[in-house]
Subunit: 246 residues, 2 copies
């Protein structure tokens, strides 16, 4: 059987998240339906991980097994022809039988976009989190640096989601850029707990508002106490940018 | 009576263009309805110019007369509270009685975004024109330079729209940037004919495809012949970025 790895972009606004849910339109469900139409097989598509309702993806990765003989370079065209335009398969690649998009994932990069203008953007209203109160960007940058490295992120995890054995994760990149009051936070790491990005950025926003001091971040991380961290920011500012494999 | 100038951002996807049209939802209609709800007056809103259905605005300018005594800094909040989120008034300013957003307009800047990736973007499907065939960006840049300056743009105008006396216009900036296969064209000028930006960029795309030679652009402009120019590109790649007044 062939094993095919695909890269997928989607507009989170239109879906109840990645994962199949009864009675709801999910990205996984749409891709599985499209594959069924194309191959006439019942195909299960496995992603690198779930994304919540409203969360966008620029480079989600998934794989599936199939007996179809469609040439590999034609696979994206075939699937896309059956998908809504809010989901695009941007590449397909033949991989070895044992490749698994979730188990073999070595790291991910997420982006969170904050609009700090007085008014929310009409065009980007489903694409960024708007906050009108002025944020201290320099303090936010300082605070974010404390997240880099290996920590127990127990305090930066929502309940629910899959319960993993360990809550220790390593963030290899924690970057914050600001341009014309649009603040972009990028986090890369070996793995992310449920809502971890949205809680880290929510905490950083509290620093920007002066509710939390940047220098208190190490203690907040060490406390492993969810109540000491900031709010979980809304999903529509979040993008799964890239998934890495060896 | 007060005369108030406002700057407006809108998502063109949701509207049948700027101008009121019977039975259709227009940006003008929505703003006039919102102003009526806020002031209980029948207010006519005059913009710097129309935008077609699907065309976006980052900085459309309009003005209106009112007897309301709402403080000027509260005007955007008041109007926005009655508008769909796909329209945002981003600023308001008291102007002199004789200011008119259209008659006093001294120039505009438009942007057109082309996606030259193999597949269209799921997230930006209503925000950029997608063309999969590879474009020669250097030739497009060369071609675009010929449009700068004062020309009779009769060949770059669709029929319809308001029939102005002269088709001579001056373009003060013609800029093309490319980054990761996203091509952004920005044109500034003292005025634009109906569909002029979309036809100029359509012509530049034909240069990128090798259908027209860059060096033939001066002759095509001089011919004043619409059939020699390229296609009118679709509206959803177009943004009214800024409107200038003295």
């Amino acid at each position: 059987m062939r094993n095919i790895k695909i890269i997928i972009e989607y507009d989170g606004k239109n879906f109840a998240g990645w994962q199949n849910q009864p009675g709801k339109v999910s990205v996984q469900g749409e891709i599985e339906r499209a594959l069924h139409e194309v191959t006439d097989e019942e195909i299960n598509v496995m992603a690198s991980g779930r994304t919540d309702a409203g969360v966008h993806a620029l480079g989600q990765v998934a794989n599936f097994h199939t007996n179809t003989n469609i040439e590999i370079h034609k696979i994206p065209y075939a699937i896309n022809s059956k998908l809504p335009k809010s989901i695009r398969v941007t590449s397909a690649e033949e991989v070895e039988e044992r490749f698994h998009a979730r188990y073999n994932c070595k790291g991910k990069t997420y982006r969170y976009i904050i609009n700090n203008h007085e008014f929310p953007s009409a065009l980007n209203r489903f694409r960024e989190f708007h906050i009108a109160q002025e944020l201290n960007v320099e303090e936010m940058k300082k605070a974010l640096q404390f997240f880099e490295g290996t920590h127990d992120f127990k305090g930066f995890k929502s309940s629910g989601g899959s319960e993993k054995k360990t809550t220790v994760r390593t963030l290899t990149k924690c970057e914050l850029k600001e341009e014309n009051k649009i603040i972009t936070v990028e986090l890369s790491g070996d793995g992310f707990l449920y809502n971890m990005v949205r809680i880290i950025v929510g905490t950083i926003v509290d620093v920007g508002l002066g509710k939390i001091k940047a220098d208190d971040i190490p203690d907040i991380i060490a406390s492993c106490d969810r109540t000491k961290a900031g709010k979980t920011l809304p999903p529509h500012g979040l993008y799964l940018v890239q998934v890495n494999y060896l």
